[in-house]
Symmetry: D2
Subunit: 133 residues, 4 copies
């Protein structure tokens, strides 16, 4: 909600589709938080050895989502190549992390929630990419 | 909302007051996003020279809030000294940034919105600190 | 130097060319620091209005380099699609930021230094990509 | 080396002791990288269960060091309260992480290297704090 309000208060209107942009920023920051939490929750599980790949991809995805969320938040003098690279990197991280989380969703509720957030962020990235061309 | 759901799905209950914790995490990530946006919006303004201190404090506050949000999200084997240091650093950044944003709120809507977010995050940090003791 | 030592002390050897990897990680973290500094130095310049695009790309590049440096540092259970996306996003940010910094190098020493660091990081990313295939 | 060069090329001289500042920035970024690597190396170890607290503190320390390194890199219009909070938070994270890494240094070389880096960063933070007063 704050992101939408801040983008609305920005002196420069977004150079790309506003709804797709706001949704993608929201999903990026949401996914960064979910992945940070899922990595930590996995660490507490008894069967942490089976979750090593999940933790690693959670950490990667949190970093990619956080950087992409920050980059997309900026409206001043954007470079479309930078935007496209960041969004694609974020989508790749969300896809890999969502796939891995899905494999543990039956046993670990946090992996199930995180998988859903990763899917939504991946989708928001692809939708935004489609509007950039 | 995702943060609350993730903390609820975590195998280890928070070592500190859950409501104060979830609220503080939410405010940290919200404030990081608002400050990233405000720094960028200031950069676009005609009178950017008068907003140089605001931009600098926005960037500091975004970094402090992001790090603190990540640290507070983790529930595994917490160290209270690390938590306290992070929360205090975040509150200090929110206070300084909120004060500076307030000075420009009449002329720039984004500074007004950002000042409000900084105030809420500062308050959430102090409320959480009070529960830690 | 620490990165090389840490990668050497890691129980799992890198899945990709060690020299190209260590160099790319070093360049990513170096470039993140240089871009953070250049954005701030630009902010202090009298002609900050002409440096608005430089500041914006500096901030984007710092975020992309920091995320990519973190992702490349991890050797556990890597996903090649995630690595490739991150490296490509980083190279795109370094290219755009280096080009813009170059345009101001004659007037601002910090832009000249930062342009050089961006070039090296872009090259290190491309060299690492070539070893991944 | 790049940090020193960038601070030297900055139009505004540091408001605090230059040598202590440059050393602290270098140690912060070095420690962020070492902790990111140590967390990942711990994850690969057979006895990962015994390293759960180490991984958690590694991740906290990486986040605190990264944020503090970015904040200290900025020389424009500094707020001493923000600087002090960030440096203290970083020192607290380095102390806790260094202590935990030390406990595993005999069995894991990466913990030994990381403990040393944490000690140096903690010291650099305290030395810088002493110059701020």
């Amino acid at each position: 909600m704050t992101v939408q309000e801040m983008i609305g208060a920005h002196p420069q209107p977004p150079s790309i589709d506003r709804d797709a942009l706001v949704r993608c920023i929201d999903e990026c920051f949401d996914c960064a938080a979910a992945c940070t939490s899922c990595a930590d929750a996995c660490l507490t599980e008894d069967g942490v050895q089976e979750l090593v790949r999940c933790i690693r991809l959670n950490l990667d995805c949190a970093d990619a989502c956080d950087a992409t969320g920050r980059i997309l938040t900026r409206q001043t003098a954007p470079d479309v190549g930078v935007l496209r690279g960041a969004i694609q990197a974020c989508a790749a991280a969300c896809r890999a992390c969502g796939d891995e989380c899905d494999r543990h969703a039956q046993h670990h509720q946090h992996c199930g929630v995180c998988a859903g957030v990763c899917r939504r962020c991946d989708q928001a990235c692809n939708d935004l990419l489609a509007t950039i061309g």
